[in-house]
Symmetry: C2
Subunit: 337 residues, 2 copies
C-alpha cells in the first residue's frame, strides 16, 4: 500500500505539504494541490486518518456521549447528529452512558482523555465540576444537548415552558383536577429535563390558584410507565382527575391506552396532553407540545463546528421553539365532573 511519503516523493513536495494538500486543511497553492492529487491517484493512495491526524492535529472525529438509545428523543437526536456529522465528513465516536455507574467515571477519567476528538457532544447529561475540568484540560470544545453546565454551549428546549403551556391548555379548557404522570416530589429522582417539566406544571397551577390541587404521580417516562401509573390512578372512580399531563408523549400514550382499557373515553371523560410530538402521537390523536430532536442534533453540530474552527467563541445557548399541537385528546371537562 502506498504511503504519504510515496505520494510526496512522486509529487516532489514534503510529506507535510502532501498531507495538507490531501486533507484540504492549511494553505497549499492550487498548482501543488493538483500535482499531489495526481500523484495520489496514480499511486491509488488512500489517506489514513491516523496519518492525517498527526500531520494536521485534527482527527475529524466528534465524540458523542449519550444514554442508551431506547427512547424516541435519543434515537431522533442521534439521527440528526449522524446526518450533520456525515455531511461535514466527521466521524462519530459513540459512548453510551447510564447515570450513576462506574462506567461514567471510567469514561471521563480514563477513556476520553486518551482518545483524540476535535470536540465532544454530551446528550442528556449534566457534567459534574470534576468532569468539566477533565474535559477542559483536554482543550476540546463541548456542546451539551439537554442539561448543561455553565461554560459550555448547549441546545435545549425550555422544558419548564413546555409543561406550563401544556397545563395552561387544560386550565383554559376548564379543567381544575389535573394530574401529572411521570412526576415526583423529589426532583432528584427525575432527569434534569423532567424535573423542569414538573416545575412548569406547578407554575401553571399556581398561576391559576390551583396549587393545592397538584397531583404528582410517579411513573417511568415510558409507555409502560404511563400505562401502569394511569391504570392505578384511574382505577378508582371517585378520585379520578379529569385531565392528565404526561411528562412525555410516551407516558401520555401509556395513560391513553390505560384509559381505553378501563372504558374511559378520551377526550370526553378524560383529557390527555403530552410533550414531544413523538412519532406515535398522531396515531393516538394526542395533543402535545412539539419539539424536534433531529433539528437539535443539527444545531448541536453547528455549535460544535464553530467552536472547533474558532476556539475562542463564547458559549452559546440555543433554545428551540416548542409549540402546542392540538389534536383530539383534549376537550372541556364534562359538566359537573
Amino acid at each position: 500500500m502506498s504511503t504519504i511519503a510515496d505520494v510526496a516523493a512522486r509529487a516532489g513536495v514534503s510529506k507535510a505539504t502532501a498531507s495538507r494538500a490531501l486533507s484540504g486543511r492549511g494553505y497549499v497553492s492550487e498548482e501543488t494541490r493538483s500535482r499531489v492529487a495526481a500523484a495520489a491517484a496514480e499511486l491509488a493512495y488512500v489517506a489514513h486518518s491516523s496519518a492525517i491526524s498527526l500531520a494536521t492535529g485534527r482527527t475529524q472525529t466528534v465524540g458523542v456521549i449519550m444514554p442508551p438509545v431506547d427512547r424516541w428523543f435519543f434515537s431522533e437526536l442521534l439521527a440528526g447528529l449522524q446526518e450533520s456529522l456525515f455531511a461535514l465528513d466527521y466521524e462519530l465516536a459513540l459512548y453510551g452512558l447510564r447515570e450513576g455507574t462506574t462506567t461514567r467515571e471510567r469514561l471521563f477519567d480514563k477513556v476520553l482523555p486518551r482518545r483524540r476528538f476535535d470536540g465532544i457532544i454530551a446528550v442528556g447529561l449534566q457534567p459534574s465540576a470534576h468532569e468539566l475540568e477533565r474535559l477542559r484540560r483536554s482543550e476540546r470544545p463541548l456542546v451539551s444537548v439537554g442539561p448543561y453546565s455553565e461554560g459550555s454551549s448547549s441546545v435545549s428546549i425550555d422544558d419548564t415552558a413546555a409543561a406550563r403551556i401544556a397545563t395552561e391548555h387544560l386550565i383554559e379548557l376548564g379543567h381544575t383536577d389535573i394530574a401529572f404522570v411521570g412526576g415526583s416530589a423529589d426532583a432528584g429522582a427525575l432527569s434534569f429535563g423532567d424535573a423542569r417539566r414538573v416545575e412548569g406544571y406547578l407554575e401553571a397551577l399556581r398561576a391559576a390558584d390551583l396549587a393545592a390541587r397538584a397531583r404528582l404521580v410517579e411513573a417511568a417516562p415510558t409507555m409502560p410507565g404511563g400505562y401502569g401509573a394511569a391504570a392505578e390512578l384511574l382505577g378508582d372512580r371517585r378520585g379520578r382527575p379529569t385531565a392528565i399531563v404526561g411528562v412525555c408523549d410516551e407516558a401520555a400514550i401509556g395513560a391513553t391506552i390505560a384509559a381505553r382499557r378501563l372504558g374511559i373515553a378520551v377526550p370526553t371523560e378524560l383529557s390527555v396532553v403530552g410533550i414531544d410530538d413523538h412519532q406515535h402521537a398522531e396515531m393516538f390523536s394526542l395533543t402535545t407540545i412539539r419539539q424536534s430532536p433531529r433539528e437539535q442534533g443539527h444545531e448541536a453540530v453547528r455549535l460544535l463546528r464553530e467552536r472547533i474552527e474558532h476556539s475562542d467563541a463564547p458559549p452559546e445557548h440555543v433554545v428551540p421553539a416548542s409549540a402546542l399541537v392540538v389534536r383530539n385528546s383534549t376537550a372541556a371537562p364534562r359538566h359537573g365532573s
Copy 2:
C-alpha cells in the same frame, strides 16, 4: 503537552518501545514497562490514539454501519454492541445508513476506505458484491448482523423458523383464517429478514394445506403501520380473519390497538401473535417469538474480535435460538367463526 518522545527520552528507550510499553501490545520486558510507566506518570503523559495507532497498526476502533436507530431491534442491538466494545476498550465509530441512497455509495466507496478500523460490523444490510470487494480490499474483518453475504461471519436468528413457529401456534389452536400483517407478495419490497418471515408464514400454511387461505397485508413494520393496515383489514366484518401474525411485535401491537378501537376483543374474537418480544410486548399481553438483539450485539463483537486477533479464522454463522412465549393474545377461535 508531553509527547511519546519525551516519555521515551526520560525512560531511556526508543519511541517504539515506549509506545509498546504503554499500549500493552507487543513484547516489552517487565522492567522496561515499569520504567516507561513511571516516566509517563512523571510527565503526566496521556497516550493519544493516533500515535498508538501508527506504532501498532491497530486503531482499537470498530466501524458500525446500521440503519437509523428508530426501531426497538436496532436500539437494543446498539446497546449490546456498546456494552461489549466498551468492555474491550474498543471505540465505536457509527455510520447511519438508509437503503438505496447515494449515502450508501459514498460510505463504501469514499468514507470507509479512508478510515482506519480494526473491523466492521454491518447491521441489517446485505453488502453487494461491489461493497464486499471494497471491504475485502481493506483487509478488515467484517461481521454481519441480520442479512449477510457468503464469506463474512454473521449473527442472525432464523427468521423463517420464527414466523413458521408463530403461525403453527395459531394453526394448532384451530385457526384457518390467518392474515400476515407487514407482508407483501413482492419479496423485493421487504427487508431481508421480513421477506424470510413471510416465507415462514407461507411454509406453515402449506404444511397445513391452508396455502390457498394465505393473506399478505402490506404494512410498514411499525406500530402505526400495523395499526393502519389492521384497521382496514378488520373494518369489514365479513372478510375478517380470526388471527393475525405481525411481521414484528410493533406491527402486532399496532394491530391489537386497532382491534380494541373497533371493539374486537383480543383474544376471544381475534388472536394476535408477534415476533421479537419487544419491550412493550408484555404490556399488551402479546404472544410472540422471543429474540434478544442485545445478546446478538455481544455475539457480533465476539465474532469480530476473534477475527481481528486471528485473521485466518473461517467465517462463522451464529443462529441464536428463538422461543415461543405464550401470553394472553392468542386463543382458540370462537366456534363457528
